[in-house]
């Protein structure tokens, strides 16, 4: 169970994962990291939060600034939170191995011990008992209480906790409590402006710049409809998917319908209108 939850990032490639900065998020993150301040990444789906963190992790653990951190095997431990995720899943549990029980670190414990970055993706989805862990790790104490072992684990000096949170579709009940929220430096992400987004699409899908520009423009226009039943508009991720379908030989209109229109809404008329916008913008 625990293993299934944790997706330790494989050893990073020699080159940092591609990330195109939109504002001053890189500088802010570096400064926060220097002071070991926990970071909250806010923003809509598919706008680059995960990619940003992968990029920053590479810089801090494999790049010129790595220093001793270069020896840390799994610099980024990502946990996709969901409504059944408990504190135990994060911290660890005893497992039966033959006649013995052996302790198995959860992803959070492993990161705290090793000095990795632990990324709790969509933290508001997790059970409330995880809050206790987060609070203890994100104030001056920097400790992880491991209740089952009666152990208090001090965090490795390089350990950093990063949460992501999508304000767009959270109900009030699931909102982050102020006492949690105010332990983090918050970086706000949004879909990039068309020029930047076009560059990202062109890079990620390996398409020509004019088509990437058209797709970015399409994204911008669809986002004008944010209140029409889909709060987030269309993600950069979907625009990249569309471009990849086109590269794969699918017609422009069909690609838009499959990767964008049907994905963002079930309202037939909104789908139709978005298809017409795509027809207008794309060759």
């Amino acid at each position: 169970m625990t293993q299934a939850l944790q997706a330790a990032t494989p050893r990073p490639a020699p080159e940092a994962p591609y990330y195109l900065a939109v504002g001053n998020e890189v500088e802010l993150f570096l400064a926060a990291h220097r002071a070991r301040m926990p970071v909250l990444l806010k923003g809509p789906t598919g706008c680059g939060k995960t990619r940003f963190l992968e990029h920053m992790t590479h810089r801090l653990y494999r790049g010129a600034e790595a220093g001793t951190r270069a020896g840390i095997d799994s610099p980024l431990v990502t946990v996709a939170c969901h409504e059944d995720l408990t504190a135990t899943d994060l911290v660890g549990r005893y497992l039966l191995e033959g006649d013995d029980t052996v302790w198995m670190d959860g992803p959070l414990t492993r990161a705290v011990r090793d000095g990795s970055i632990c990324y709790l993706d969509e933290i508001v989805e997790a059970r409330k008992d995880t809050t206790v862990l987060i609070h203890a790790l994100t104030d001056h104490r920097r400790i992880l209480p491991i209740e089952k072992r009666g152990e208090i684990l001090p965090a490795h000096p390089d350990f950093l906790l990063v949460l992501s949170y999508n304000p767009g579709y959270q109900s009030v009940a699931k909102d982050l409590k102020p006492s949690t929220r105010q332990r983090f430096v918050a970086l706000e992400f949004d879909y990039p402006p068309p020029e930047v987004e076009a560059e990202i699409i062109a890079h990620e899908a390996d398409i020509d710049v004019p088509l990437a520009r058209d797709l970015a423009e399409l994204g911008k226009r669809i986002r004008n409809l944010h209140h029409r039943g889909f709060d987030e508009g269309v993600s950069t991720r979907l625009l990249i998917y569309t471009a990849q379908l086109i590269v794969g030989g699918i017609g422009v209109r069909e690609a838009c319908v499959a990767a964008i229109c049907r994905a963002i809404t079930d309202d037939d008329e909104v789908q139709r209108a978005v298809t017409e916008v795509a027809t207008t913008l794309l060759p």
Partner: protein, 378 residues
Amino acid sequence: MARVEPSRNDVAALTAVALDDVARVLEIYVEAMLARPAEVRPLGDLASGDRSRAGHVDLEGAAAAGRPTTDGAAFYLPEQIERFGNPCGNFMVYRMAVLHQLGGVLFGTYRRGPVRFADFFAGFDQPGLARALFARLEGARIDAALARTFRGVRRDLLRLIDDALESTPPPASDRDCRPGFELQPHAGPESPPAPAPRRRSRGPSREAALSHLAGRLLMAQRRLVAVPALPRGRGSGDVDPAFDSTVRLKACDEGGGRGAGAADPALDLPDEAARLLLRGATVEDTRRAVRSLYRVFASLRPGAGPGRVGPFGGRSWCRRSRTGVRRRPGSAVSSTCPRRPITAIRRRSGSSCGASGPNSRPRSNCGTTWRRARWLRA
């Protein structure tokens, strides 16, 4: 057993698109394109005197002529379109009509300039003629800008232009339609409109000349949009095909001495008009072109009726060639042509676009149904 052929009305009933059925889609479309909510309303609302949001350059004229128009907040469209023999084509006509109006908003037709529209037209002896010129020239400028800005527009614009050119009635004689720009002294860009010279007793009528101008604008427009798309691949699309053809038009313009029209008979356009199709042309350029062309047109004798305007303009486009022979553009509409579209129209046959086509249902007695090119223009 006798086979029952479907009548034209049956076909129209199956393929026509009603505004009621597509209004919400169009509203969402406008909202996406313009980043603000907009309403789509039947043209009848204008005709019935609802001009609560007036302010448009020619709301009155549009209401009278049954052309799509906008006051910025609402987009007024015909209640039904049955121009093509399939619902997709007819829906495309709606989309392009809305887009043309949007173009006016996006490319500055309504931008507050140094002179208000009303004052601008009032400064001419014959404000109606100035308006007619403005409508044709500004409409062409907007279409050129749309085709340059949105790469998907070209395809549909071409289809509309071809349909418009194809359904043009035969000219009495091309020479009868030419306004003879070369004979007229050119007004300076900012010179005030000159009083109309004495009318000639012979030569083209004003309507024929306007129609000729519209036809030449269509042909020039066609050149701009009919550039084959470049093969796609990384880096290969860096040259915008529209830009490329713009450059060619400009080259014509620069090399031709007397203007774009001089270099190529198909582009027999006065410089002022040709320039409006180029990148960077503004509504001020249109006003300038109106000022300078007005003198030429004001000197012509008034004719029998309104002439063709183009894919987005014109209200007397009533009959397509029975022989199917492609007619020459730039001709005047026969004076016997009724202004309202007649019902006995040979329909363009076309394939159905399948389940994705808009829901269409027959409309009887529609006040504003477009069968042929009864179109917009500011």
